[in-house]
C-alpha cells in the first residue's frame, strides 16, 4: 500500500482547503474509474449520514393525506400507500445496506486473512481441516445458503450479516490461501529464512503485507454483493422486516403498485444499482492502480 500514500508535499500547506487540494492530486484520484466511483458513492454517503437532520419526513412517519404521491420538492422520491416519504425511507435503507456491506466485508476480510494465512503458510493437517470446511460451504450457492440460514436463525440485521458473511468467508480463505501459497515459495521468503527469521516474522512482515491489496479489492466486491444479497433477502421477506425500511423491502412494497406508482419500487432500485456500480468501479480502479503493470 506504500505506493499510494500521499506523495505531494511540495509546499508547506495548512488549512482544510489546502489539504483537500493536496489530496485531490493523490494518484488514487487521478484514476478515471475511482473518480467516477467516488462521484457516485460520496453524495449517497453524505446524504445518508445527514438524513436525521435533513428537513424531510421521518422514515416511519405516515401521512394519510399524502398517499402515493408523485415525486415533488417536498417528497423527492414521492410517497407510498401509507404516505411515507420514499426518499427518507430510501436513505434509512441505504444506512442498513452500507452497514451490511461494511460488516460483511470486514468479517470476511478478518476471518479470510487469518484462516487463509494459517492454512496456506502451515499446510498439513491444519490446511486440510480448514479447506475441507471451506469446500463444504463453497458447494452451496451463496444466496441459497443465506436464505437457508436466515430461515433457521430468524430475520433481522444480525442474522442477515451473519448469513451473508458465512457465504463469503470461505471465498476469502481460498483467495488468501492461494496468495500465501504463491508467496511462500518466493525467494525473499527464503532470504529471510536463511537468517532464521521466525514464522511470525515471515507472516507479518513478508506475506500478509503482500496480500492486502488484492484482498481489499475482493472486499469491496464482497460489500457490493452483500448489499445486493441483503436487498434480495428483504425483497423475499426474509431479511429486514417492515416497518423498518431496507432497500429490498421498499422495492417489495412498491411492487404491487408498479402500474399506479412506479416510483416506489424504481427509485430505491436505482439507488441499489448506483451503490453496486460505484463499489465495482472503486474496486476495479484500485485494482488497476495497484497492478504494477499499469505503471
Amino acid at each position: 500500500m506504500t505506493d499510494i500514500t500521499l506523495t505531494t508535499t511540495s509546499a508547506p500547506k495548512t488549512g482544510p482547503f489546502a489539504i483537500l487540494l493536496a489530496a485531490s492530486r493523490h494518484p488514487l484520484l487521478s484514476h478515471a474509474k475511482v473518480r467516477l466511483a467516488l462521484l457516485i458513492l460520496i453524495p449517497i454517503l453524505v446524504l445518508t449520514i445527514l438524513a436525521p437532520v435533513l428537513p424531510i419526513q421521518k422514515p416511519l412517519e405516515t401521512n394519510l393525506r399524502a398517499m402515493m404521491q408523485f415525486p415533488s420538492i417536498e417528497h423527492v422520491f414521492g410517497t407510498d400507500k401509507m404516505g411515507r416519504d420514499i426518499f427518507s425511507r430510501t436513505l434509512a435503507g441505504v444506512q442498513i445496506s452500507l452497514l451490511v456491506g461494511f460488516s460483511v466485508a470486514s468479517i470476511a476480510l478478518t476471518f479470510g486473512m487469518v484462516l487463509g494465512t494459517l492454512a496456506g503458510f502451515y499446510g498439513g493437517w491444519l490446511d486440510r481441516a480448514i479447506m475441507t470446511v471451506v469446500d463444504i460451504f463453497l458447494a452451496f450457492p451463496s444466496l441459497l445458503l443465506a436464505i437457508g440460514l436466515v430461515s433457521v436463525m430468524g430475520t433481522g440485521i444480525v442474522p442477515v450479516i451473519f448469513a451473508i458473511s458465512l457465504a463469503d468467508v470461505p471465498r476469502f480463505i481460498r483467495l488468501q490461501r492461494s496468495q500465501v501459497l504463491s508467496l511462500r515459495s518466493r525467494a525473499f521468503i527464503d532470504a529471510a529464512r536463511t537468517v532464521d527469521a521466525s514464522q511470525y516474522w515471515l507472516m507479518t512482515r513478508h506475506i500478509v503485507p503482500n496480500t492486502i491489496a488484492p484482498m481489499l479489492v475482493a472486499a469491496s466486491i464482497a460489500a457490493a454483493n452483500a448489499i445486493l444479497v441483503e436487498a434480495s433477502l428483504s425483497f423475499l421477506g426474509l431479511g429486514i422486516m417492515p416497518p423498518q425500511p431496507s432497500l429490498g423491502n421498499i422495492v417489495r412494497d412498491g411492487q404491487t403498485y408498479l402500474e399506479q406508482a412506479w416510483w416506489i419500487s424504481t427509485l430505491p432500485g436505482v439507488v441499489i444499482l448506483l451503490i453496486a456500480i460505484g463499489l465495482h468501479f472503486l474496486s476495479d480502479g484500485v485494482r488497476e492502480l495497484l497492478d504494477p503493470r499499469s505503471h
Binding site: 506504500t2 527464503d190 532470504a191 536463511t194 537468517v195 532464521d196
Partner: protein, 652 residues
C-alpha cells in the same frame, strides 16, 4: 565457417523498419530505422541485450507484435514482395508457409491440450496441400529428423509429456515441415541447458542447410553466434550499430558496443588476475528522444561529435558496416585502459582452515506416487577459507539442492553439513528475491533486525556502508526494488548477504537473469569482495566460462553426485570425466575460428529421470565410452583429500 553461397540472391530485405509501442508513460521507439538484407540460405544472428529491440524487430517482420506495438514505417521485402502492406489474411499465407518461427519458450508456444499430431498435421496439410495420411507421414519424418525418438508413437503425445528440449525439437519440426524460405528463431535455446542447447543448435543448423532455408537467429549469447551465424547484426537502442560477416565482427569489431560485449565474456584462457572489462551504466530509456549516439554515455571513446549527432552505418570493408564516428571504436581507449584492468595479483593460498564441509550428503524427495527422487546422492565437498568453489551441471543435477541444504532451507535426508560461521545467499532472480513492499534500506537491514544487532541508528549506518561497498549510492536506502535495474538489485542482494559478516556466500546463478553487459559488473564485484573480505564463495552456475573465471575449484555434478573435482584451470584444460568433457565441449565460445574447428557431435540424450537411478555409473546412458563394467559397477569418487578427483572407471 567457409560459407560460399552459390548464387547470391536476396531473400529478405528490410528497409528503414520502425516499430513503436504506445505506452501510458510515452512512446517507446523499439525499432528505430533498421535496414538489412538476408541472402538465400544465409544465417543471420541478431544480437543485443534486452530492450535493444531485437525481438520487436523480428516480430515486426511477421507482424506478430503484442498489443501496444505497431509497425509505423518501413518496407519488408520477402522475395521481392512487400509483406508489410499485406492484409492479415494474406499475411497468414506467409507465416508458416514462407516463414517459419521458433520461439523462446516451447512450453507456451505449443498448445498444452492438443496432441502434437493435431498441432503438426493440419498446418502441413494446408501448406503443402497433402491429404491427412501424407501429412502425418511428413510430420513423422520431420520429428525423426529433429531427433525425437520413436516419432510414430511420440506424435500422439501431449506437450507436457515431453521435456523442454523435446518440445523445442517439435517446434523446429513444425517450423521446418512447410519448407519455409526463412526461419525466424527468437532465443530458441535460452531456456535450455548447455548440452541440450548444443543439440538444438546443431539440429537447426543442419536442417536449415539441408532445406536451403535462410535463418534469422535472435540471441544475446555471443558464443552461439560464433557457432552458428554467417552474418551478425548487433542491435543497440532500436538500431543496428554493426553488421557484417561473423569472422569480421569477432576479429575486428568496429563499434565500441560490440567491442565491449566481446570483452565482457570471460575467455577459456583468461587469467584470474585480469579483471573482466565491464560496460558501465545502463542502456538509454527508450521513451525519451536520444540526441547523438545512443551509446555515448557508456562509451570510453565518446567525443563531442557523439553527443550531438547520431552516427549512421558506414562501410568498413568486406560487407562490414558500423555506426560509429571513430574509425576503430574503442581501440585507443582500450589500449590505455587495459593496464589498469589487472587486479591485485593475490592468488589464493589455502591456510588449511575449512569453512564448509559436506559429508555423504543426501537429499531425497518423496513424490506423490510414493517414488523417491534422489536429488542429492552422497556428496562430499570442502570449501576452504577465501576459496571459491564453482558447482556446475545441467538442471536437475542437484546443485541448487546442495545450496539450499547449505543454507538450512532444506533438511538433508542423511549426511552432515559443517559450516564455520554463517552461510548467506545471493539468489538467481533479482526481481523475486526482495519483498516488493519493503525499501532497499529495510531489505538490507532485515538480517540485522532479525538477529537484533545494534540500535536503529547503528543499523542504518551499517546498511549505508554495505550499500556503498557494493557500489551503489547510499541514497538508495529510500527506494523500492521496482525502481532499480536488474544489476542494481543484484548488488543489493549481495549487500544483504554481507550484512551479518558471513563466512561463506552461496550464489545460485547470480548472473543468469542479467544482461550480458551487466554480468561482468556483478562478477567483478564478487571477486573484489572475496579479495577484500576473505569470504568464501560457492558459485553455482551453468555458465561454464564464468565459473572457470571466478572459481578456484570446480565440482561437476551429474544426477546428484559429484563426478569430477579439481582446480578450475586444470578441470577446464584437462577434463577427465567424459561428462565434464561433454559439458565443456557444449559451451559455445565467442570465437568463430574455434567454433568452426569443433566436432559437430554434441552429447546425446538427456538427463535420465532421478526416480530410478541406474545401478552402475549414472552417466553410462549418455557416455560415448561406456562399457558393461560401467553399467554394472558404480565408479566411486576417490578420497576427498585429493586435489583432483574423478568418478570414472576409465579416467586417465
Amino acid at each position: 565457417m567457409n560459407y560460399q553461397a552459390p548464387v547470391k540472391t536476396t531473400l529478405l530485405e528490410v528497409r528503414d523498419l520502425r516499430t513503436q509501442f504506445q505506452t501510458a508513460s510515452g512512446t517507446v521507439k523499439a525499432v528505430d530505422g533498421v535496414s538489412f538484407t538476408i541472402e538465400r540460405g544465409e544465417r543471420l544472428a541478431v544480437v543485443g541485450e534486452s530492450g535493444s529491440g531485437k525481438s520487436a524487430m523480428a516480430m515486426s517482420i511477421l507482424r506478430l507484435l503484442t498489443h501496444p506495438g505497431r509497425v509505423v514505417g518501413g518496407e519488408i521485402l520477402l522475395d521481392g514482395r512487400d509483406i508489410s502492406r499485406l492484409s492479415e489474411g494474406q499475411l497468414n499465407t506467409v507465416r508458416g508457409r514462407l516463414v517459419g518461427t521458433v520461439f523462446q519458450d516451447p512450453m507456451s508456444s505449443l498448445d498444452p491440450v492438443m496432441r502434437i499430431s493435431r498441432q503438426m498435421i493440419e498446418p502441413i496439410m494446408r501448406n503443402l496441400r497433402l491429404n491427412r495420411d501424407q501429412a502425418r507421414a511428413e510430420a513423422i519424418k520431420w520429428l525423426d529428423k529433429v531427433g525425437i525418438p520413436e516419432p510414430e508413437r511420440r506424435i500422439e503425445a501431449y506437450p507436457f509429456e515431453m521435456s523442454g528440449g523435446m518440445r523445442q525439437r517439435v517446434m523446429i519440426a513444425m517450423a521446418l515441415a512447410s519448407r519455409p524460405q526463412l526461419v525466424i528463431a527468437d532465443e530458441p535455446t535460452t531456456a535450455l541447458d548447455v548440452t541440450i542447447q548444443a543439440q538444438i543448435v546443431e539440429v537447426l543448423k543442419t536442417l536449415t542447410a539441408e532445406a536451403g532455408s535462410a535463418m534469422m537467429f535472435i540471441t544475446h549469447d555471443l558464443g552461439l553466434v560464433a557457432r552458428f551465424a554467417h552474418k551478425v547484426a548487433v542491435m543497440y537502442a532500436g538500431r543496428i550499430v554493426e553488421f557484417g560477416r561473423v569472422e569480421d565482427i569477432f576479429a575486428n569489431p568496429a563499434h565500441p558496443y560490440t567491442q565491449s560485449l566481446l570483452g565482457t565474456i570471460p575467455s577459456t584462457t583468461m587469467l584470474k588476475s585480469e579483471r573482466l572489462p565491464q560496460i558501465s551504466g545502463l542502456p538509454p530509456d527508450m521513451r525519451h528522444e536520444i540526441t547523438g549516439c545512443a551509446f555515448k554515455d557508456r562509451c570510453a571513446a565518446a567525443h563531442d561529435r557523439c553527443l550531438a549527432e547520431a552516427p549512421r552505418l558506414t562501410d568498413r570493408g568486406h560487407e562490414h558496416t558500423a555506426a560509429c564516428w571513430t574509425p576503430h571504436g574503442l581501440e585507443q581507449a582500450l589500449a590505455t585502459g587495459q593496464q589498469h584492468a589487472t587486479r591485485l595479483n593475490k592468488p589464493f593460498e589455502p591456510d588449511g582452515s575449512v569453512v564448509v564441509e559436506l559429508n555423504a550428503l543426501r537429499k531425497q524427495f518423496a513424490t506423490s506416487r510414493k517414488m523417491v527422487v534422489r536429488a542429492v546422492n552422497g556428496v562430499n565437498l570442502r570449501v576452504h577459507k577465501g576459496e571459491t568453489l564453482g558447482i556446475v551441471g545441467e538442471s536437475g543435477c542437484g546443485k541448487s539442492t546442495v545450496a539450499r541444504m547449505l543454507l538450512g532451507l532444506e533438511r538433508p535426508t542423511s549426511g552432515d553439513i559443517f559450516i564455520a560461521g554463517l552461510a548467506q545467499m545471493v539468489f538467481q532472480d533479482p526481481a523475486a528475491s526482495f519483498n516488493p513492499k519493503m525499501t532497499i534500506g529495510d531489505i538490507v537491514a532485515e538480517p540485522l533486525v532479525v538477529k537484533s544487532r545494534g540500535s536503529k541508528a547503528e543499523r542504518l549506518d551499517t546498511v549505508k556502508r554495505l550499500i556503498s561497498q557494493v557500489g551503489l549510492d547510499p541514497a538508495f536506502v529510500e527506494r523500492y526494488p521496482h525502481q532499480l535495474s536488474g544489476g542494481q538489485r543484484q548488488r543489493v542482494a549481495v549487500a544483504r548477504a554481507l550484512a551479518l559478516n558471513p563466512s561463506v556466500v552461496v550464489a545460485d546463478e547470480p548472473t543468469s537473469a542479467l544482461d550480458v553487459s551487466v554480468r561482468a559488473q556483478i562478477i567483478n564485484l564478487l571477486v573484489d569482495l572475496k579479495e577484500e573480505l576473505g569470504i568464501s564463495f560457492v558459485f553455482i552456475s551453468h555458465d561454464l566460462l564464468t565459473v572457470r573465471y571466478i572459481s578456484d575449484r570446480i565440482a561437476v555434478m551429474y544426477l546428484g553426485e559429484v563426478v569430477e573435482y579439481g582446480a578450475a584451470e586444470e578441470v577446464f584444460a584437462d577434463p577427465r570425466h567424459p561428462y565434464t568433457r561433454a559439458l565443456i565441449d557444449a559451451v559455445p565460445v565467442p570465437d568463430p575460428v574455434v567454433e568452426s574447428r569443433r566436432a559437430a557431435t554434441p552429447l546425446q540424450g538427456e538427463l535420465p529421470s532421478p526416480l530410478n537411478l541406474p545401478k552402475g555409473c549414472a552417466f553410462a546412458s549418455r557416455c560415448p565410452m561406456a562399457t558393461d563394467r560401467c553399467r554394472a559397477e558404480k565408479p566411486a569418487l576417490p578420497d576427498h583429500d585429493l586435489s583432483r578427483q574423478v568418478a570414472c572407471h576409465y579416467a586417465h
